[in-house]
Amino acid sequence: MADTNVKTDGRALAKLFAGIGATLILSCCVGCVRVKPFEREAHSRKTMQERDASDAKLEGHVHEYREGSVGGSGVGGGGCGCN
């Protein structure tokens, strides 16, 4: 019985994960706004740059060990075309 639950749970989670992953990927293929390279001046400004990774890691360090939640921090790497 326990094994069945574990398998069912695993399958449900795999479906959930696959669904969210597919949604993320599809979202990029269905006409997101296109910003041309010469329109990205604002994105290249200093205040629009990503926070230093080690600073963000230390910040996360403070919270992860004092809260019941983790994850979701990888979104910081998003935002493209401004290198």
């Binding site: 639950n5 749970d9 449900a12 989670l13 959930l16 669904g19 969210i20 949604t23 993320l24 599809l26 979202s27 269905v30 997101c32």
Partner: protein, 168 residues
């Protein structure tokens, strides 16, 4: 699909994934452990081997034990030699029950902590502090067997005879 719609889909996905495990808040059934066996057999062992004030006869220990002439519950200091009250016996029974392993494979701290590590027991700080007398040196020790039998579900009649204390 806009980012906002995408977020909504994701939030919905997680919200719908009601994935909490079953039975997390379930009470435990302790009826397999026998109070009579505890009173007649286990309590004398605990009193003789474990309940010194510097050991478990101390309310700062996770395994806190009451015993005659030692740590008592609301007993005047000049009556410490009187027999344990029902309340004290019940408290000891519940305390000891908490240190019995629940599942197959889960260690029974009540028996395995005071068993010498050289014969398969667990680390017991008392052995470092007080020497070999602090632990059961082998599994044949009557004290160890009593604790193990209690954990394994041994029972006794209500009118059982109380075992003589078995000191080190």
């Amino acid at each position: 699909m806009s980012i906002s719609k995408l977020i909504a889909v994701g939030v919905l996905g997680i919200a719908l994934a009601n994935c909490a495990q079953d039975g997390l808040a379930k009470r435990e059934d302790l009826t397999l452990l026998d109070e009579n066996y505890f009173r007649c057999n286990v309590q004398p062992v605990l009193a003789a081997r474990c309940s010194f004030m510097a050991c478990h006869g101390n309310d700062e220990r996770p395994l806190m034990l009451f015993a005659e002439q030692r740590f008592r519950l609301s007993i005047p200091w000049d009556e410490y030699e009187t027999p344990l009250t029902d309340e004290e016996l019940l408290a000891n029974f519940r305390m000891a029950s908490g240190f019995v392993g629940r599942d197959d494979g889960e260690e029974t701290l009540l028996a395995d902590k005071p068993l010498d590590a050289r014969v398969g027991g667990l680390f017991h700080r008392g052995r470092d502090l007080f020497g070999e007398d602090d632990v059961f040196l082998d599994r044949g020790d009557v004290g160890y067997q009593v604790l193990r039998d209690f954990a394994d579900g041994a029972s006794a009649p209500e009118d059982c005879a109380v075992r003589e204390e078995v000191g080190p």
